[in-house]
């Protein structure tokens, strides 16, 4: 009799060694004491593709080659683009200045003048001086003897002509015994007697014939005088015309001498010369204003216009120069970042001012937008802000398509306002736009906006991580050095840099990668500096000479502590027994699954109990999460894959009359992802084969229909989540986590987990198949089909298949009974 016990089954998969759980930095790869001795990193780290795209996009001058820098927040896209442009822009030409001036032909359409850099301010100054000159020289020209004499001559001419004509009539009247009288408002005729006007009585006593003669004489004289007086306004008009010509002649002498030098200076710029010519003519038309007393001028000269473009009340505003874009003392092409890309901030606006109770405007109130400021250079915009500002995106596209900046208010462009307003002449546009935004925005725009791909042809796709190697570790150390110097932080010693690299590799979720998330890295460095300073203060030192690994770790721990309230609450619920989770013992149809929760950038793993129940039934696998709409589509897909696996693997030639239900116990929120599908399958196989599973283990990994365990995300957080629970309850040495073998490369676990593993208190099992996982969870062999197509007895698979075969036979028997019953009604029914 053989009394020896059968040897205990040892699963094929062995737990990982502590060394495999984290890829440490090799101090030999970082040959420096502190980052003080490292050189700055001039280029983008790990962004070769993005750098190449920026260089291409900026270099190519063809239309539509604007850039879209895409990637998640915090990668340093804006800084990278800006730094590249700052290297390039100084060598490029300074763009011209642009001014708006009055349009003398069409006042509501101000003219745009292009001037060389800093020429705008010069023209403005010169025009101000010119107007001052007009105000002095024009009155001076009119305050001369020559002008006064010639004016008097013109005025006297008309007066004399009138007096002579009237005097002539008076003379002739006198010859007929009639006097011409000057009345308060005109003239009258009266017969005279001697030297006096004849009394009415005396007239009545005259013979009738004499009376008629006098009357007809008076009538004829009246008619003659009337004709004469009617001609007088015409004579006055003639005199006025002569006077105007005289004024113009005198003013021209003053204006020409003042403006001619300026016109000569701008002869090489025909547009400016033409404008000055128009100013010259306009001033001649408005000499009256310059001849007003100074106090009257001052009151009206610079008042805003009243009404739409009526400049009658502000005669001198029309000679102002509005320098909308000035490039004085600038070197190279402009680089503009518009933080608030509203419609007005982008294309410019026409402002109004309150005057006499109304809002008025003119060309001096035209304000430049970001497109003006960046014209001839580069404009960086945030895509998301741009798209959320009403009509800003449409305005930007319109400007890029037409290659000109047309300033119009939203009211005008939407045809909501029909009041007279300004239509400034468009300014030619030549610039590169760099939009910065998330990838989703880029792809959505590409898909839904047909113009987008025409206008933004260069995608600058920023990487989130880079390959990790000894060389890249050293480059990363130089990046730390660069940032520390830039932020005026204390230098990081080698140990601190190693800790930063390891933590940043963990952030990448991959031992072979390094995250290049700049914002987070900068935060970590600043926080480590803060911790070091706090420690130095506590030790009565002035400031830390260097930042060590403990400072970095303190910063990491503090950040986690700040964010971990929810994680701690969840674990507390488990420890107090309100969330049911076992970390020891065995149970059929129950397994510890692992999920990851993400809250405001902080991720943590948390175990969840997954259970399965089975019975003979109609072949339906019920996913309770899905039934109650708590399961997402990917989760549902994972569960349906289980059906495929079961029906393909076990009793393939028989019916599949299994009813099963699966649930995430005590889960009241949504469940998404398929990383729990292996755990669900283990629970299901346990329930079918009635094989208990070890509750000291937790499981993560998705499965396919062939039973291969596939990689999942967040493996570090999941392991640490179960570890934290086990540690709180006391590590037994039996506890551990099953992870997909393909996730081993992602392991960058915390030190406490690694220490527990090295002491044999916790285990990480890399499994490649469901069979491997079941063996670890049950301590039984999974079993492979032999030559006869059967699983060996007492294996897991044999138990599972046997149960399914039993169900299938019952199903067949039941179906046969129904057939018999149909054939022999009234006969005994066959029951299974």
């Amino acid at each position: 009799m053989d009394l020896t016990l059968p040897p205990a089954f040892v699963p094929a998969v062995r737990a990982l060694s502590a060394e495999a759980l984290c890829r440490r930095c090799d101090p030999a790869d970082l040959p420096f004491e502190t980052t003080e001795t490292l050189e700055d990193l001039p280029d983008l780290l790990g962004q070769a593709r993005a750098a190449e795209a920026i260089e291409f996009g900026i270099g190519i001058r063809s239309e539509g080659y604007n850039l879209f820098a895409m990637g998640p927040e915090g990668l340093g896209r804006r800084t990278a683009v800006r730094r590249y442009l700052e290297r390039l822009a100084p060598a490029q030409a300074v763009p011209p200045d642009w001014c708006y001036v009055f349009n003398f032909q069409t006042p509501h359409k101000p003219r745009a003048l292009r001037l060389p850099p800093s020429g705008g301010a010069r023209l403005k100054r010169e025009m101000e001086h010119l107007v001052e000159e007009f105000r002095v020289s024009i009155p001076a020209a009119f305050d001369t003897d020559e002008y006064r004499r010639r004016r008097q001559e013109i005025e006297a001419e008309v007066t004399d002509r009138q007096d002579d004509a009237i005097g002539d009539i008076g003379q002739r009247a006198h010859g007929q015994g009639i006097a011409l009288l000057r009345t308060p408002a005109g003239f009258g005729f009266a017969p005279v007697q001697g030297e006096e006007v004849m009394e009415p009585e005396a007239f009545r006593k005259l013979p009738a014939e004499e009376q008629r003669r006098i009357e007809s004489g008076i009538d004829a004289l009246q008619e003659e005088l009337r004709t004469l007086l009617q001609a007088v306004p015409g004579w006055r008009r003639e005199a006025q015309k002569k006077l105007r010509e005289l004024n113009r002649e005198v003013a021209r002498a003053a204006v020409d001498s003042a403006i001619n030098d300026l016109r000569v200076a701008y002869r090489s710029q025909p547009e400016v010369d033409q404008y000055l010519g128009e100013v010259q003519e306009d001033v001649l038309e408005r000499t009256e204003f310059f001849l007003q007393k100074e106090s009257e001028q001052a009151a009206a000269a610079f008042a805003p216009p009243q009404g739409g473009g009526d400049f009658e009340d502000s005669p001198l505003r029309r000679y102002q120069v509005n320098v909308v874009m000035e490039h004085a003392e600038e070197a190279g092409a402009p680089i503009i970042y518009e933080d608030n890309p509203t419609h007005g901030n982008l294309i410019g606006r026409i402002e109004h001012m309150s005057f006499m109770g109304t809002l008025v405007t003119d060309f001096t109130l035209i304000k430049a937008g970001a497109l003006h400021r960046a014209n001839g250079g580069y404009l960086i915009l945030d895509a998301w802000k741009m798209l959320t500002e009403p009509y800003a995106w449409e305005a930007l596209k319109r400007a890029l398509r037409s290659r000109e900046i047309r300033i119009e208010s939203l009211g005008q462009s939407l045809s909501l306002v029909s009041t007279v307003s300004l239509e400034p002449e468009p300014i030619p546009l030549d610039l590169k736009i760099v939009l910065i935004g998330p990838r989703m925005v880029y792809y959505l725009l590409h898909a839904y906006d047909p113009e987008f791909s025409e206008l933004f042809k260069v995608a600058v796709d920023f990487e989130e991580e880079m390959d990790r190697s000894p060389e890249s570790d050293l480059l990363f150390a130089r990046l730390v050095a660069t940032l520390a110097r830039r932020e005026k932080l204390a230098p990081f010693d080698r140990g601190a840099v190693m800790r930063v690299i390891e933590h940043w590799s963990r952030n990448a979720g991959d031992a072979d990668k390094l995250s290049i998330q700049m914002r987070g890295l900068l935060d970590l460095l600043r926080e480590a500096d803060f911790c070091a300073r706090r420690t130095a203060r506590a030790g009565s030192h002035d400031a830390p000479k260097r930042i060590g690994p403990d400072d970095v770790q303190a910063a990491i721990d503090a950040a986690e502590r700040r964010a971990s309230r929810v994680r701690e609450k969840l674990q507390e619920e488990v420890e107090r027994g309100r969330l049911l989770l076992d970390t020891s013992g065995e149970r059929v149809g129950q397994v510890n699954g692992l999920s990851v929760m993400q809250l405001a950038g902080y991720s943590f793993g948390h175990p969840t109990r997954i259970t399965a129940r089975v019975r003979f039934g109609g072949g339906h696998l019920i996913d309770i999460e899905r039934e109650v709409a708590l399961g997402g589509p990917i989760h549902s897909k994972g569960v349906l894959i289980l059906s495929g696996y079961l029906s393909g693997r076990y009793a393939p030639n028989r019916p599949f009359p299994l009813s099963a239900s699966l649930v995430f116990e005590q889960s009241y929120g949504g469940v998404e992802g398929d990383s729990a599908s292996s755990a669900e399958l283990y629970a299901l196989l346990s329930a079918i084969g009635q094989v208990p599973l070890k509750q000291s283990l937790a499981v993560t990994g998705s499965v396919n229909q062939h039973g291969d365990v596939q990689a999942i995300g967040g493996v570090n957080e999941k392991i640490e989540g179960f570890f934290a629970l086990c540690k709180a309850r006391g590590l037994t040495g039996q506890q551990g986590v099953l992870i997909p073998a393909s996730n081993v490369g992602n392991l960058m676990l915390k030190r406490e987990v690694i220490e527990a593993v090295s002491q044999g208190l916790f285990h990480i099992y890399p499994v490649a198949t469901v069979d491997e996982g079941m063996e670890i969870l049950t301590g039984l062999p999974a079993g492979q089909r032999n030559a006869a197509g059967h699983f060996p007895p007492e294996t897991i698979n044999a138990r599972v298949e046997q149960r399914l075969v039993d169900y299938a036979e019952r199903s067949i028997a039941l179906t046969a009974g129904k057939v018999l019953k149909r054939r022999a009604p009234g006969g005994p029914a066959i029951t299974p």
Partner: protein
């Protein structure tokens, strides 16, 4: 005879304006009072009562009938206007002044002028009659 007042005609017209300016300077120099005289043209009143009283407007060039009452009113308004202008001219000076309307057909009024120095323009220039 320096205490006698200087009388000057203030009917509308360039000549009257010029006369007033000279008379003011004269009155300041002599320290005497100045009298503004507005002479009503009696011929106009007589004409307004005649059947030919049709006034042809300087601007409108249209004849319109006039009557003595309307003419009287028009002359009164002219006199008032002349008084205001006279007062304005003298407002800024220290010269004492008075104003009088004289009818060309009023012998008493003309007689009163005899007690004053009459400032008129003669072919030889401005003269003070009665000095």
């Amino acid at each position: 005879m320096t205490s006698r007042r200087i009388a000057v005609r203030v009917n509308d017209g360039d000549e009257a304006r010029e006369a007033l300016g000279v008379a003011i300077r004269l009155a300041q120099a002599r320290g005497t009072e100045i009298v503004g005289i507005f002479v009503e043209d009696v011929r106009l009143l007589r004409w307004a009562a005649s059947p030919f009283a049709r006034e042809i407007g300087t601007v409108t060039a249209q004849p319109r009938p006039r009557d003595p009452a309307a003419m009287q009113r028009a002359l009164r308004l002219l006199a008032e206007e002349a008084r205001e202008t006279f007062a304005r001219r003298l407002a800024g000076t220290s010269v004492q002044w008075s104003f009088r309307v004289v009818s060309g057909g009023d012998p008493e009024a003309l007689e009163a002028l005899e007690t004053e120095l009459l400032f008129v323009k003669t072919p030889a220039g401005w003269r003070l009659i009665g000095d």
